[in-house]
Symmetry: C2
Subunit: 473 residues, 2 copies
Amino acid sequence: MINLASIFHSGLIPDFVVGSPLLATEPSSESTSLVLAGVLLSLVFIYLASKLGGELSKLVDLPPVLGELVAGVVVGVSALHLLVFPETGATASDSVVMTILQQVGGLTPEAVGSVFSTQSEVISVLAELGVIVLLFEIGLESDLRELQKVGSRAAIVAVVGVVAPFIAGTAGLMLIFGMPTIPAVFAGAALTATSIGITSKVLSELGQLKSTEGQIIVGAAVIDDVLGIIVLAVVASLAKTGDVDIVNLVYLIISATAFLLGSIFLGKFFNKSFVAIAEKLQTRGKLVIPALIFALSMAFLANAIHLEAILGAFAAGLVLDETDKRKELDQQIIPIADILVPIFFVSVGARVDLSVLNPASADNREGLVIAAFLVVVAIIGKIITGWAIWGKEKINRLAIGIGMIPRGEVGLVFAGIGAASGVLDKPLQAAIIIMVILTTFVAPPLLRFAFQQEGEVVEEVAENSDLALEVKN
Amino acid sequence: MINLASIFHSGLIPDFVVGSPLLATEPSSESTSLVLAGVLLSLVFIYLASKLGGELSKLVDLPPVLGELVAGVVVGVSALHLLVFPETGATASDSVVMTILQQVGGLTPEAVGSVFSTQSEVISVLAELGVIVLLFEIGLESDLRELQKVGSRAAIVAVVGVVAPFIAGTAGLMLIFGMPTIPAVFAGAALTATSIGITSKVLSELGQLKSTEGQIIVGAAVIDDVLGIIVLAVVASLAKTGDVDIVNLVYLIISATAFLLGSIFLGKFFNKSFVAIAEKLQTRGKLVIPALIFALSMAFLANAIHLEAILGAFAAGLVLDETDKRKELDQQIIPIADILVPIFFVSVGARVDLSVLNPASADNREGLVIAAFLVVVAIIGKIITGWAIWGKEKINRLAIGIGMIPRGEVGLVFAGIGAASGVLDKPLQAAIIIMVILTTFVAPPLLRFAFQQEGEVVEEVAENSDLALEVKN
């Protein structure tokens, strides 16, 4: 593995360029300026990676988001160390950005720790804002009526996609591998997740977001996210006390249901007042700022009642989708999404530590066997969901099943919490991470294949909005 | 003064809603989620304030940016405490956002300090990105050839605008107020700054960015920024050692000159390859991402050689302005600027502490007298710059002088560094802050007045780009 940090440490950059301690008299403004420098450099690496990865993917006819993920792995903790995060165990000395700042920016060894953790936090929050804006955009492009039409089918897909891999995974780990109940339940729970971000982005890139299959997948992924939070609550309290906190569970179920139904209900009334307000405004950003106020408030609300912020943003998008400002708003959200969303995908890739795949370590070998089992369960457990839909309707059942496969960042959250609480030993932890990586990376090309099988790949809608803008100018 | 924090502290929100400690098993992911919640809530407050302030300003026919600044003061440390920063001496318990998070988000008293400082840092960096994007946009809308045409006049305006207030201020403080040399020199130095962000935003709102006066003001503000950094370097080393670091000074002058000339030179070659690259790309964000990579790299470079990041972004805008992708790019930068720039202006307002205006405190009374003197010098010292331009050319000299008046965030940096290094006593510090506030707030309406005098206020270009987008849809 290449580590650029060591190249910079070796002193190839002359001391002449090393910063002066001029502004050191004001520590907080000095450190803000260094944090800003770190963020600027990280963003340059992220954007370079996302464009290189996305374009290469596109050249070989794969969804660009897959390239962004892979590019993230390349610049991340697994290889170049251009973008590393403290949560993955990296320290400031692993970070090429910090090394460059020490060489050219006058960053002192004493300040490097706090500047590293703050700039990483800023990038993490920007990535979170990216997935919030992505889900807002997906909500805007989804149709609430269409989504309600597919509601029952989406619910079946979600429930089967949670129950099947959970039971198969937990039972398999206990019976085949003789694992104790609690870690087995935890690993089974990690199998239930679906990454709504990755799935919806791929659908959008394939121009399938508005197809029946697309709407079922998005609807199911949303429901799956809610179920995932409930499952996480259950296993987390199980892991901590060996017991399930019923009050908390009931609270979560009620608040999640109330939030989703409340948003739909709210939508019917709110969208008229939104248009009325937006039409009265006269200063710059008169449409996009009120829309963001609404989306961010909903995201905060969802976060505050212990759901995920992205669910709130998605609901906000659905509500505003019903207005006649939709097209105009969508047009303006596109460039904002274009600059924020890549931060999310590259970061997800950068956090993946490929060293768990190295069979030279004994821990990994055990992990690899368990991983193989988990991957099979993870894929089959979700693919069957397509056939869980009743009726003889002509529908691309394979595509629906594949659409539910990627675990993405949600799976990483499970692995992270499990590791921190001490429930998962090293091999099991590695196995879960491998399962997350493989399901995430295998889904986009499979999904394209599934849609192509039926000759359903239409022109890429997302790309066209860019082109449309160009033609107009 | 109203402090919403106390209302929330009083327990009006039931304990029922208080968060569960569910996810507390994973401290770093938990704290990221709380930081995210804090950022979401802060952004909601910022956007609400910016829209309310901007629209009210517009209604009474003032530049919207003035309303955003005032709204910032209202939500900031001076009044509502919805947005406070640790640098201004605020603690987590002053922050309404933190109080709300403790009530509804499960933020523990132990974690509140670090969550507060991290979320403030995130908002500060977002504000910095805002002014970077603003200057990039201003650069895109400026014309390098036009700017070169006004170059010598802009240089005169900048030099006179630095020398005149510096000498008048320093001499006045020493002779009239009997102040020692070093604090007098520091206060004089604080008078030299010009806020390029505020000035250029007002010009853009008045549709005067491309007029000869507008180009002279922008050019002079850029040169003033460079001069300001050199002045700051001189007084900071003077304040610390009583002596000036000549090596550092020479380094700063050379690097600043090389950077600005280098960018112009680079522009002639780079813009063709930029267009060639952008035209080859096929994935989303194919224009805006390469442009941002360039702008952020230039910003980082400027920051790394101890200039300001915004100068790099401005230079990047100038370079890309020469390409035939300019219009399309400008169109896509607008929504990005719309969501980032208000964060900057509201933050500048929020950091202003109006309590220095309260004459009940003895320190303030002495400060108010010195402030009155500084304000007069600050305004006259810049207004005369218009008449420093040689020749009998018919030109709005008053407008040019007024355009240089606002000290904005640059002045606050001087005050902050002075306070931290102990050079400035309380009254002088308060006086500088008052000078910064008044010059910042008085400039936008005066500038509009100066242009109106000559019947020069054209239709607001910035607004029209919004409208144009609307008409197209």
